[in-house]
Symmetry: none
Subunit: 188 residues, 4 copies
DNA sequence: GATGAATGAGCGTTCATTCAT
DNA sequence: TATGAATGAACGCTCATTCAT
């Protein structure tokens, strides 16, 4: 039941927004009562936090697996991380939208925890870029921090537009993105 | 007075969010009463729409000026548009945050209008890239639509992190971004 | 309107208890809406605090007037204070009941303030007894603190049973009380 | 288990109040579940009634024992009853507070029964005073009903302030009270 | 132009109680 | 005996909006 509530909430929060979706909306759509909701969650905010944690923890876990694989180059790892992000947006689009859009509806302690985890994710990419610079894969003059923000912008922004059933698959988008990140768009 | 209300609202909406900011908050912080608000605005949503229009119309206007300058190359125009976006986030940070974050609080007609304008802005960039491909500035195999989304992601995402009083100026960020967009990050 | 709400609330809180009386009950009985209530009071607890302050401040003010009258003996002052308490319970019975019964529904800060005022009222009586002992009106071996509590018990308890329209008037009750306090009940 | 629930409830009801203490609070603090509570009690109100009965029935029983002792004078009996009341507040302080404070949370039938028992307790004291008047121990002009209320006020009020671990013991308080009741406070 | 009293619909949350297991 | 999922009614409170002045 807790999972049913979470799943349904993700759907509704994505469609109507967190604040605009009432607990009543959630439980009505499941044919249960508000009491049931509060049996499983202590507050609406806790539910939102659950959704946030479910999303970011999954990403962090997968990112770590990618990064610790000593057999791959930095370029390959970058490609895999970008792919992972687009894929996650593709497969968990609703949760992703909530994650990027509704963070301000968490209380300050929870915001802090989520921001910490987002920071960790970003720092891991910074580290990857830095390593790539050091081992000669990436250009030495790069401003690692800004470049990392650019890469995150490219990928994260796709929650705003990427359509899993559109012309281009998630993997193809990732390939285009990485091609651009590595080679740029100009003719040499 | 209408402008004072708008300006103050932008500040409050950015800090606390649109839904979490009440009309009472706005008028209290200005030392006037709710009646005054409703003399100038027919609804809270109209105020939000005003803020949205103020932001996007400014961008569109400036974008057009950049694009119609026949003396500049596509690369140069791209640089100017990127700079404009970062600068706008730098100088109108609060309005930018509201623009990207609170669109769902507009009613459906207004959402449609804003989306149309955002689409126009994007289509203009697509057109610019396409022209660059055709005239040999950009690589011919580019997927113009996805690349445009990547560029928008890079720039728009900066509303999430760019700090005008930080280490790097808006212009420097724009330069780093365009350098990356054009040349990529890998060593050739 | 604020006074109408307060007056009606006193009536309802006395009859049904503070917790058992809802804001809905209050506003329904006045033919207004909840919004009106919250236009005048920031919370239900604030209303309760208003009622408490209205009661205790009135008593303290009157008590001071009695005590500062240099022309009266301690016995006379004691009689006037007892009379005042019974009379206040007679004329403001409902507020008195709420005052004695519902203090625990105030928040901790407000409880502290009210307790402080009740303490002040008590300390003033202690001081009166002490003065009476010193000037030979009262017996020298009295335990002033406990005696004060006994006097307060006699008077305050009357909120539980005193009926203004009963056999004995408030003034008569006060006379009986003071007679007993001064002379006791046994035959000498 | 039923006694454990009752004992724990008395502690919680005294600290937080009856209405403010939920069944959940009670069962959580005992490490059991709500179902268990409803196995032993048919309602929260029944539990409160149990507490009331436990307190008043004890007092009535003891009062009867005191009163039927033909070897004691009315003064002595009065002293013993006052002592009993202060002692009960001292030893069962929490239950006493609940008894005096939460009676309004009983349903009307139960209120009636408790009031009846409180009345019986009071009537027994009235009878004692009346006998004392008739046999010459107490002054003949006393208003027995009001005097009884005064005595009850003195003793019952002590649930508001008496501290068993304070400067004065329960027995000493009783002695001071009875001394005052019998002789008054003025110098003859 | 501006006020401020009043509305009314809705929201998040609580909690005593029930009941199948 | 005891559990725990589920209910449903109520509650305190918020807030965008209206409107007579």
């Amino acid at each position: 039941m807790k999972e049913k509530i979470t799943a349904q909430s993700i759907r509704l929060f994505e469609k109507k927004g967190f604040t605009e979706t009432s607990i009543q909306d959630v439980v009505d759509s499941l044919g249960v009562t508000k009491g049931t909701f509060y049996y499983y969650f202590s507050s609406k905010e806790e539910l939102l936090m659950d959704i946030h944690l479910g999303y970011i923890d999954g990403l962090l876990l997968y990112q770590e697996q990618i990064l610790k694989d000593a057999s791959k180059s930095c370029k390959e790892k970058l490609f895999e991380i970008v792919t992972m992000l687009i894929t996650s947006i593709s497969s968990q689009g609703a949760a992703a939208k909530i994650f990027f859009r509704e963070i301000n509806n968490l209380n300050s302690e929870h915001v802090e925890l989520i921001v910490q985890k987002r920071d960790q994710f970003r720092l891991n990419i910074e580290e990857l870029i830095r390593t790539g610079v050091e081992n000669g894969e990436f250009r030495p003059e790069l401003d690692v921090l800004i470049i990392t923000m650019a890469i995150l912008g490219i990928t994260n922004w796709s929650y705003q537009w990427f359509n899993p059933s559109g012309r281009v698959t998630d993997r193809e988008v990732a390939e285009i993105f990485v091609e651009m990140i590595l080679k740029g768009i100009q003719v040499n």
